[in-house]
């Protein structure tokens, strides 16, 4: 695998996203700190997931989606036409809303990405799988049955497996799109602990519906409404003394 690390904050500048006629993201600019947890919050349909999906160019796959603006990462505009999303996604891992393991064994799920990058030796793959599972706090639970189908795991375990799968490609950034929305409170707590661990080595960006979760896990929070970034700052400040009236209304549940 490539050794060169990409460091630095992510500078989102004047990003607009259109789905056909729908203007989903309106001129958003923000700076995301490396090795911090940043949370995107807001009511559904506010564009937070859309912005998240810009960071690994997942929106490319949606027919009729158009993105303008720049996202600078280590002085590279990752929205540029010259950037190939495939190697980009190696550096920007993603965890989806619903756990989506491949219908393969636990081992093959995690070893899949290293394999397609050309790692063939069994030993090395085993190391990667073990390390990723340990980093995702799943090794103790499934370490003795790596050959089992990933679909035999519980929902919470599946989601941690998906995190392990994302870690196996040694990304710099991990995107999480409402990773706990399909999980019960106990599984959610485990994932939140995991996020706290992950931020030592990774830049984590999480989209969440759950404001308590944002408050518990994130360092910075951005509040989105109707495609606009209303307020962005330290999580503490956003939750305790929001500057915008709209943010405060949303926080206190007096919306609309």
């Amino acid at each position: 695998m490539e050794k060169n690390k990409i460091r630095g904050d992510i500078k989102i500048q004047n990003v607009n996203v259109y789905y056909r006629d729908n203007h989903a993201i309106k001129n958003v600019s923000m700076e995301i700190k490396q090795k911090h947890v940043t949370a995107f919050i807001g009511p559904s349909g506010c564009g937070k997931s859309t912005l998240l999906r810009c960071l690994n160019r997942m929106n490319d796959e949606i027919i009729g989606c158009k993105t303008t603006g720049t996202i600078l990462w280590n002085d590279i505009d990752i929205l540029s036409k010259d950037v190939d999303p495939v190697p980009l996604r190696r550096k920007v891992g993603m965890v989806f809303q619903k756990p989506n393991p491949f219908p393969k064994s636990i081992f093959d799920n995690i070893a899949y990405a290293p394999k397609i990058y050309g790692i063939k030796e069994k030993k090395k793959l085993e190391q990667i799988v073990e390390k990723s599972l340990k980093d995702a706090a799943l090794f103790e639970e499934v370490g003795d049955r790596l050959g089992d189908s990933a679909l035999s795991l519980s929902g919470g375990q599946q989601q941690r497996l998906c995190i392990a799968r994302a870690l196996a490609i040694e990304p710099e950034i991990i995107l999480m799109d409402e990773p706990c929305s399909a999980l019960d409170p106990i599984a959610t707590a485990k994932i939140e602990d995991l996020i706290n661990e992950l931020k030592k080595n990774y830049t984590v960006i999480i989209v969440t519906h759950n404001m308590q979760q944002a408050a518990r896990v994130s360092d910075n929070t951005g509040f989105f409404y109707l495609g606009e970034l209303i307020e962005y700052g330290k999580t503490k400040q956003i939750f305790q003394s929001p500057k915008e009236e709209l943010t405060e209304k949303y926080m206190t549940g007096r919306f609309g």
Binding site: E2, N4, I6, N56, M58, E61, I63, G64, N74, D75, I76, D77, I78, S80, K81, D82, V83, D84, V86, P87, L88, R89, R90, K91, G93, M94, V95, F96, K98, N100, P101, F102, P103, Y112, A113, I116, Y117, S149, L151, C162, R165, A166, A168, I169
Partner: protein, 642 residues
């Protein structure tokens, strides 16, 4: 290097950009190959259109179009030169219309019974049988019509030896499975809450199914009837065998008649003198093609409308809004409908005053339900009786003829010495070659359409072309094959030509089945694979294809089994006197369905026994393929954990 050649040198913000777009030869080559395999359908369609227009051109340079379309006499010999298509058209309408008259009531009520009243057990038993019925080759129905149904009309109603009535019955049986299965799909697709609402208002199940479900599914039912009609119009083998070969402008079902497709088949078998009469076949083919094209287009529009919720119509309405003339017209129409409504309301008030309807008693309503269910349940029984008669007759006639001589010797003039060894081999080779062409092309096209194609004008065009290809009457493929492959490409009447023709026929079915299988793979697999940095081809190769494989294989097997049962398209090129099995792709060949046709047309009774025995062999092969497909599907469903 390549990027420089293509003038696509990426401009980098930072020379050490690790994400810079590189030209990936393998990926791009694959996409190009997939694109080509999808686009080949256009070439095929162009070949068909070229064939029909080119052949007709010769004809219409001698006979005026007006004479062709309005003439009432069809005697295509050099001396008479009467080329009026109306007798052929009337024969086609008589047979297709008669078949619809039988199959619409039976088919729709059978579908209603299956969808609304049959128990799950009965349904799961009847559905596969209908699927198998739809897969029985038309030559079998043709044999049945001539040998079994025709004598009934001859003995009881004084019909001539060849008569339209027997063909009508056989064609009705043939299109019934199409109508049943598509109408059933349409009624099953009616959301359940509509039924529940109706039942909760105190309607009986009979009232619910006839007054709520059937109207809600009406466009699907109409589409199924239209598809059945298109199939009946293009049907060749039944008509050639049972209806005769005299073109008469008559609607008497007991009389002999000829259809458009039958005339083309006569051209194919060489019963027509060469010259203008042969090129007349192309003109008839063109007319048949245009008629079925129109019907299929209407049917597919209706189907799309059902699937997407009337989007076709609404789009059209948007277009209409721009046109002022249309605007005025629509205002006019609205006014008329308003007046009609007022008149209707007044009429119903008057009727109410005169008759004063009393509330219907519950017992009466229940009786209605009982009678209704019995009647539509009876239609299933009638269809089942037909099936049992058909198979039973063929079995009892042909089973005695199957012995080692029959399986290992060659076709002969002496029935007791005749066998079908080279014919079986011919069909097997034909099957293998068709498979070798169809599978990569069809799967490639489906992958391109489902995974790579954006929603452009070209993609929509491609989809329409493939859909239209599926609706072309099979005899027209024969015309195209003989013009393009045999003559233009100089492949001769060979295995290669035959398998290419069947490939074009099977292609649309494989594409549709493969797309269905690809769509059944959840998008979350694709997203997950992309999320860890797979290239587009890796996503397909590692995740989509393995999970769609059982569905794809089932689709391929079923379409191939459909193709090798076809007689009409290869009628032009098979050699009726095969003395040896083909040993190369340019060798001449004979296939099972064509052999059945040949033996059925022989006057001697013994040859009919041989035909029945051959039918049994053909049905065994087709059923075995269907069984394999069902097993694959079943296993995959049991194993599937997503």
């Amino acid at each position: 290097m390549i990027s420089i050649i293509l003038g696509k040198k990426p401009k980098l913000a930072n020379e050490e950009n690790p994400f810079s777009l590189k030209f990936n030869i393998k990926e791009n080559l694959i996409v190009v190959l997939l694109f080509i395999s999808a686009s080949i359908a256009i070439i095929f369609s162009a070949a068909i259109i070229y064939t029909l227009f080119n052949g007709s051109f010769v004809f219409f340079s001698e006979v005026s179009i007006l004479e062709f379309l309005t003439g009432t006499v069809w005697v295509p010999t050099e001396i008479f030169r009467a080329f009026g298509v109306l007798p052929l058209l009337s024969g086609t309408i008589l047979i297709a219309g008669g078949a619809l008259l039988i199959s619409i009531p039976l088919g729709v009520s059978a579908a209603l019974f299956l969808s609304e009243f049959a128990s799950i057990k009965l349904r799961s038993f009847v559905k596969p049988i209908i699927e198998i019925l739809a897969g029985i080759p038309s030559i079998v129905y043709g044999f049945f019509a001539l040998i079994f149904i025709s004598p009934i009309f001859r003995d009881n109603f004084g019909a001539s030896y060849f008569n339209a009535a027997s063909a009508i019955f056989a064609v009705a049986m043939m299109i019934m499975p199409i109508i049943i299965s598509l109408s059933d799909d349409a009624m099953k697709a009616v959301p359940n809450h509509l039924r529940e609402t109706s039942l909760a208002l105190g309607a009986t199940r009979w009232e619910t199914s006839t007054k709520i479900v059937m109207p809600a599914a009406s466009s699907g039912i109409i589409a199924s009837i239209l598809l059945g009609l298109a199939r009946a119009l293009g049907e060749t083998m039944v008509v050639v065998l049972a209806a005769g070969s005299i073109a008469k402008l008559t609607l008497n079902p007991l009389d002999e008649t000829m259809t458009m497709s039958a005339y083309i088949a006569k051209v194919a078998t060489g019963d027509i003198p060469p010259g203008l009469a042969v090129s007349a076949g192309f003109a008839v083919g063109l007319l048949l093609f245009l008629i079925t094209y129109v019907i299929n287009t209407i049917a597919s529009r209706i189907v799309i409308q059902i699937k997407t919720g009337a989007s076709v119509k609404s789009k059209k309405k948007q277009d209409q809004k721009r046109n002022i003339l249309v605007k005025i017209l629509s205002k006019f129409r609205k006014a008329i409908t308003r007046y009609l409504k007022i008149i209707r309301e007044k009429l119903s008030k008057i009727i109410y005053k005169i008759f004063k309807p009393k509330p219907v008693s519950l017992t009466k309503r229940y009786w209605k339900q009982r009678i209704g269910i019995t009647l539509i349940g009876g239609s299933i029984v009638i269809a089942a009786i037909f099936l049992v008669l058909l198979l039973g007759h063929v079995l009892s006639e042909g089973i005695g003829g199957i012995n080692s001589t029959f399986l290992t010797s060659y076709p002969s003039w002496k029935p007791e010495k005749a066998g079908i060894f080279p014919v079986i081999m011919g069909s097997v080779y034909l099957m293998i070659m068709t498979l070798a062409f169809t599978a990569p092309l069809g799967v490639g096209a489906a992958i391109y359409l489902n995974e790579f194609a954006k929603d452009t004008r070209y993609t929509r065009f491609l989809r329409r072309i493939i859909q239209n290809l599926a609706g072309v009457p099979s005899i027209v493929f024969g015309l195209m094959g003989v013009t393009i492959f045999v003559t233009l490409f100089q492949f001769g009447p060979s295995l290669l030509s035959g398998s290419l023709i069947l490939t074009i026929m099977a292609l649309p079915i494989v594409v549709v089945a493969t797309e269905e299988a690809l769509k059944s793979v959840p998008d979350s697999f694709r997203e997950a694979a992309r999320g860890v940095g797979s290239t587009r081809w890796q996503v397909i190769r590692h995740h989509v294809l393995p999970n769609a494989a059982p569905g794809i294989m089932t689709g391929i097997i079923l379409s191939i089994s459909r193709a090798i049962g076809e007689t009409a398209p290869i009628l032009f090129i098979v050699s009726f006197f095969a003395k040896s099995a083909p040993s190369g792709i340019f060798d001449s060949f004979m296939a099972l369905p064509a052999q059945i046709f040949y033996w059925t047309t022989q006057p001697k009774e013994e040859f009919h026994v041989l035909a029945a025995s051959t039918i049994i062999i053909l049905l065994i092969i087709l059923l075995a393929m269907n069984a394999v497909a069902i097993i694959i599907r079943h296993r995959a469903q049991a194993k599937r954990d997503w």
